[in-house]
Symmetry: D2
Subunit: 243 residues, 4 copies
């Protein structure tokens, strides 16, 4: 499986705390544990030409992982449209944390994708809602992140196809933290945790979820539907008003 991990990679340059937690960037950290799991992984970042997402890169990607925050607006619409088309064609997409406000996620959802937030380093506890889902394979009933940014409901997204996690936050909120969507031939997983100033992507449970998720979002090679004008498959009785 070819996985591309896309990261804005700005916090890592601006905030020494982030660079300390993720010396190779958030993309590097994610690429490492996915490579270790046996996948072919490359990374791409905002400041590369075409944001690192050339036609060739996108064509060969089975799964794209997306982390962005500060610079959603700098992502060129042309690239967003290409990513969008690739998802519709069957590329899996995993959107992480503040990627909820990325152009690509909003364009796929059709909603504002807004939410409540607070950054005081409170405890988050993710409860497994769907124990049958491959994405929760190997997890316990819940797991905790000692410090995370809070995201709270209402989360302005369409009704998820599947609701996998709900988070409890110390400050009193809840959040649909793991949700899936189908768009065209593509599968999408949004996964909430991952604020840049906490070592979330070094957490073993978080890594399990993302490793499970790449296997779930990757295409299972269903039919490529034909659209447009179609000949009838059965005889149609000619009716009077058409004569």
């Amino acid at each position: 499986m070819n996985i591309v991990v896309w990261n804005e990679n700005r916090h890592e340059k601006l905030n020494p705390r982030v660079a300390e937690i993720y010396p190779k960037g958030i993309h590097g950290a994610i690429a490492d544990f996915l490579s270790y799991a046996g996948h072919t992984v490359t990374t791409a970042t905002l400041d590369e030409p075409d944001h690192g997402l050339t036609d060739q890169v996108l064509k060969e990607a089975d799964v794209l992982i997306w982390w962005g925050h500060l610079a959603h607006d700098e992502v060129k619409q042309e690239i967003v449209d290409k990513v969008h088309q690739r998802v519709l064609d069957g590329m899996g997409l995993i959107v992480l944390h503040s990627g909820h406000f990325s152009k690509i996620f909003k364009q796929l959802m059709g909603t504002g994708c807004d939410l409540k937030w607070r950054e005081v380093g409170e405890r988050e506890r993710l409860w497994v809602i769907d124990p049958t889902h491959p994405i929760v394979s190997g997890l316990d009933s819940y797991f905790e992140l000692e410090q995370e940014e809070m995201y709270g409901e209402h989360f302005d997204v369409p009704v998820p196809d599947e609701l996998i996690f709900v988070s409890w936050f110390e400050g009193g909120e809840v959040f649909r933290s793991g949700v899936t969507y189908r768009r065209g031939n593509g599968k999408i997983f949004y996964f909430r945790p991952g604020h840049e100033t906490y070592p979330t992507y070094h957490n073993e449970n978080i890594q399990k979820v993302i490793k499970n998720a790449v296997n779930w979002v990757v295409s299972s090679k269903g039919p490529q539907h034909q659209y447009g004008q179609a000949e009838p498959l059965e005889n149609i009785v000619k009716k009077e008003s058409l004569s």
Copy 2:
């Protein structure tokens, strides 16, 4: 309830057959039976300034009904964005037939919204899949349209929140003909039938469905959620790494 019926209103000018079936336009036919049902109904068409959808009109609309086909591209993006925002704010939206390819529907869905089609005047039979839904109130198990354009699966839309009708077509296809979606505070109903060269909107069952649908898509005045930074509702224990 304030209902705005929007119609492209081009076929009516170009094709005498359409003008004969709908002397007041498709919008006029729909407005008539909804007015008769006691609603306050106005119409708006493509060639009016702002396509008839001024800020005032949109602000006062509780429900917008949309029919378009030939000229989706002529609808200004600025107006589409305003309609989109009004749906997210709670305005109900009913998208009819070839409106599946309208900018507003595609923008709300996030998919290509394509389908198979054929125009030979074949029989369509709409089967009620969800007998509990208010939109099928007063219907029998199925109803027929003697002649309609065929739309066939695969219909490239997100998984519907609710599947209300599935159509059988004489030529061998099936179609999810009545589907609902939530987007933000707004409810959306897509209803398949309504090709311009057949008297579909004069059909009693079709009128029942649309009359039921306006009552279903209209806002039930739920909460207007606050988004953005939020103070905690509970005490949060200060943790070491934040000091």
Copy 3:
């Protein structure tokens, strides 16, 4: 609308604290605010003949509300089966709190309906997840119950048709507190709060939800489907192997 409020009515007899909060029983408290809202409301309790649910009572009920806890086992299977059939025929059903373990709810769900629980009088905060749903009409983004029994995930029910509320609990759990299901021609709403030792059913928001819910679960008179052997609606070409 004819509403029947069914209550086990045992805690009220055994626990003075409950009798103090609900002098007319939980059923009486619920019947009062629904009558006040203009509905025709009767009550039925476990120790009446047929548990108060005679064929006549069930036949005339548009909506049945169910509260039980201590004595689920004492509800006769024969009556459960009649209630089940009435739901399939279109009677609305609202199951409250500990009713999650009632025979009727388990039989409609097909699952164990188990959950985590704790009774220490902790705070519950119910967040509105679906702002478009008629059941949340008139509510704010969330509301609080200062003291309630905790119910925690995993809640062993089928994936809900609609997820309306998620609860946050002081002790660290979350719960899908308001969920809907369709079964046959009937609509079902499960609503979590309502422990007998707290004045939950006197809470204004709780009353709003239940008043909204009766209007939502009541049948909208869709088709009564015919089942069994059916004549073809179209010509079928005779094929060789059948001759």
Copy 4:
């Protein structure tokens, strides 16, 4: 993967036509192509002790496939309850064709599971509705069965978690032919085709679907949730009325 194929195995004894099509029984035909795909497959039939479903057999089964028709009533409730519990504990279940009326399926669904039917050997065309689902891997947009029994809507089941196929029938009906459900830790796939007098289980596409389905329904080893009384995970502030 351990697969158990359960078959009533009565038509095979009563009808020479069925015995001719399925000399080893329907169970034998299904077991053959699944064995050939590399699975460990055993069969079980109604007339064996415990219907072939001893505690040991059920304990070791990862996936159970169920075909029944004439003799649903002869299946002992005690065995049904054991199968039900195994599904809730995570065993995958595939229910075929007339199994829609089996005790186990009805008990898992909570509805009547009735439908329209007709046996005249008409054409069925199964359209893929969800191209992203692993169960349709390797299929085209649709496939045909030249002769099958008709099952028509309304199909009295809960709203499916996923709708994978919709069938078109020559006689004018449609049917949700491939649907999934979660119950407890178990996944369920209902697949419509398979009338005993047609060689449906010898059809290559039908075999593909069932081979895909066993991989989908098999447990992905998510958490085994704990239920019942639970200690708080966070400090709870003692409140006055509890003193």
